[in-house]
């Protein structure tokens, strides 16, 4: 059996070419690093005099856009500080932090007690920004906004509400002419913080959902089709008449996808917005535990959007590398103040000031020398 010579040759050539490109890039970055060194004498952020400091982190993909903006903005302010972040997913972030292959982690769902125990030292959860999940749907003949409650969405995802003209949907949407179309349920196929937030809310509002499905980054869905990523879910929903799905608020806003309003604990139907998400965090701040590991889905308070969540940065309370720790703590203080202002333009909700104050106090506990 002979392989075609031409294609084998091109297969060999391609990696070589990209390798050359990589080498060039590495050279350029290395040279750039050297030339910026003399300029870093202004030594802010308490950086050591030895020059450039690199801090590596890994974790959630959901906050990646705001984190990478923060790290690049911070690098402009303090050129000697280089923070690298790999968005490998919350689970991967927790694993790498536990194995101490990265300095900080990031997650969309708080670490479990078991995970905390298996880490070599106490870990601090620091809320960075807020995100939300919205229901999207494609119902033939319906242009306007539909209203949902948590238990209704749970019943739809459990497969007990099967058609769009079901009395349970009609009751919440009086005056809307609902078609008799079958409901096609669309969920995420990849493990995701988005799924975690969504099923966390459904489990709080529906005991049946909690019992049958439960909460995790991926779950055993009783019905429906899975799409990969927000774009996969949105694509399936837009193409499948009669379907319902869920995506991140940011994704829906950026792509101008219309979404439904969801009933909160106070009984109001709230359409998600960055302000309504911040309100949910305000409502939850009163009962915030000192370790910040809290779910704020179905939060109390007027105007609070119920499918909201923190996304956390994870730090060891007493890391071995004190110099990096000092820089990271300085960075966090900046992210919680100046950095928060950049959140809204990227579609993330800002932390309420009460939470920021609690975090500032918590940062004092981190060992920096």
């Amino acid at each position: 059996m002979k392989f075609p010579f031409g294609s084998v040759q091109s297969m060999v050539q391609m990696p070589l070419r990209s390798l050359c490109a990589t080498i060039v890039v590495v050279c350029v970055t290395a040279c750039g690093g050297n030339s910026s060194e003399p300029a870093s004498t202004s030594g802010a952020a308490g950086a050591s005099a030895s020059g450039n400091v690199q801090i590596n982190g890994a974790g959630a993909t959901f906050p990646y856009p705001i984190y990478s903006k923060w790290f690049s903005e911070y690098n402009k302010l303090y050129p000697e500080v280089q923070i690298n972040y790999q968005s490998i997913g919350s689970g991967g972030g927790i694993r790498q932090l536990t194995n101490q292959t990265v300095f900080f982690g990031a997650t969309d769902g708080p670490m479990t007690d078991e995970q905390m125990k298996s880490a070599p030292g106490p870990i601090l959860h620091l809320p960075a920004v807020l995100g939300a999940v919205v229901p999207v749907y494609n119902v033939p003949g319906i242009e306007g906004e539909l209203k949902f409650s948590g238990s209704l969405i749970a019943d739809i995802y459990l497969g007990t509400v099967k058609t769009w003209d079901d009395p349970a949907i009609a009751k919440l949407n009086p005056g809307v002419k609902l078609p008799a179309t079958d409901i096609t349920v669309v969920h995420r196929s990849d493990g995701s913080g988005t799924t975690y937030i969504f099923v966390d809310f459904l489990s709080k509002t529906s005991p049946a959902f909690k019992k049958k499905v439960g909460v995790n980054t991926s779950v055993n869905w009783p019905a429906g089709v899975g799409g990969k990523g927000n774009e996969g879910v949105a694509g399936l929903v837009s193409q499948t008449p009669g379907s319902i799905g869920y995506v991140e608020l940011i994704y829906a806003l950026q792509n101008k996808i219309s979404f439904g309003a969801v009933q909160n604990l106070a009984g109001e139907f709230v359409k998600a917005s960055v302000d309504a998400v911040t309100k949910a965090a305000e409502g939850a701040a009163a009962s915030m535990p000192s370790d910040f590991r809290v779910s704020i889905t179905n939060a109390p308070g007027a105007g609070a959007y119920p499918i909201s969540s923190f996304t956390w940065i994870l730090l060891y309370e007493a890391p071995k590398d004190a110099a990096s720790s000092r820089i990271m703590v300085d960075f966090m203080r900046w992210a919680l103040t100046d950095g928060q202002k950049q959140a809204t333009e990227l579609g993330y909700a800002q932390l309420p000031s009460a939470v920021v104050q609690m975090e500032m106090a918590a940062l004092d506990r981190v060992k920096v020398s």
Partner: protein
């Protein structure tokens, strides 16, 4: 001169040994990392179909089913097309068309699978959905076509795999057909064979190589991840229906590995990798065996 020969032999032998040891190391590492799941579920992992990360209950049957079903379907669709292309290019094609056709089939192989996936979502899936809707109700009652017309599902996955497999199978089959000695064809014509009969004789002569080409395509289909996960619907169920959303082993690893923080969950995902590895080995072994028996029979007959 002789010592240089020995050096050459040793160094190439070392490369071959590295290759073999990589395969062994992969198998060993996959088993080691999935030990937790192997101990907990044992053989039940292969034959149960609950995949519940919340409850910590893992069974791989729907993924094994989905992988084999989609790959075999893809093979059934792709093989006749690929052999047709190979025969046309090597035997019948006018010289002027030959180079562009060869170039185009090889180009198909070079397209990244994510691009196939996007094409699948935007072109193939809507087309499959309208086909599903157009199917008469009498046929829809058959288990093969049951379920709501979603577009995403087994049929879309098999079709996209078939498109991806065709260039591999056809390229190798074409090269194999080119190795058929000219004397073979001339002999066929001399006996008064038509063009069709002469080509049939050439295909028969090259059959071991063609089986190898088909198996290469099968291996490619088994491991394909990205394009399949974008169109298969990702629902772990064992269903004979072409319209049902299903799942494959490669897709579930790609989908869930990054967010799997729990030890057992992670071990179960790695064990899926191990199962895929074993199935790939078995398929390769079987195809090797098939080729050997066919080659053996041929040489036996030649000797007789």
């Amino acid at each position: 001169m002789r010592s240089r020969d020995i050096g050459f032999r040793l160094s190439t032998g070392a490369f071959a040994f590295v290759l073999a040891s990589i395969v062994v190391a992969i198998g060993f590492e996959l088993s080691r990392q999935s030990m937790l799941s192997i101990q907990k579920f044992g053989f039940d992992f292969w034959r149960t179909s609950t995949w519940d990360p919340v409850a910590g209950q893992f069974g791989a049957l729907p993924f094994i089913w989905g992988t084999l079903y989609s790959s075999i379907l893809a093979l059934l669709i792709a093989t006749p097309v690929a052999i047709g292309i190979a025969v046309f290019i090597s035997e019948l094609c006018p010289r002027i068309l030959r180079t562009p056709l060869v170039f185009l089939t090889e180009l198909l192989a070079a397209i990244p699978s994510i691009v196939y996936g996007l094409w699948g979502i935007f072109v193939l899936v809507p087309a499959v959905r309208s086909l599903e809707i157009a199917l008469p109700d009498s046929l829809r009652a058959l288990p093969l076509f049951s379920g709501p017309p979603l577009g995403v599902g087994m049929l879309s996955a098999a079709l996209i795999l078939a498109v991806m497999v065709v260039p591999f199978t056809s390229t190798v089959a074409r090269e194999v057909l080119r190795t058929v000695p000219l004397a073979q064809r001339e002999a066929a014509y001399a006996l008064g064979a038509t063009q069709f009969e002469a080509i049939r004789a050439a295909i028969f002569y090259a059959r071991t190589g063609i089986v190898g080409a088909v198996m290469l395509g099968f291996g490619r289909a088994l491991g394909e991840t990205m394009a399949v996960t974008m169109v298969i619907g990702n629902n772990p169920q064992v269903s004979a229906s072409l319209f049902a959303p299903q799942y494959t082993m490669a897709a579930v690893i790609a989908n869930e590995f990054t967010e799997a923080a729990d030890e057992l969950y992670l071990a179960a995902l790695v064990e899926i990798g191990l199962v895929l590895f074993i199935i790939t080995l078995v398929v390769n072994g079987l195809s090797r065996g098939l080729i050997w028996t066919m080659a053996g029979r041929k040489s036996g007959r030649a000797a007789a």
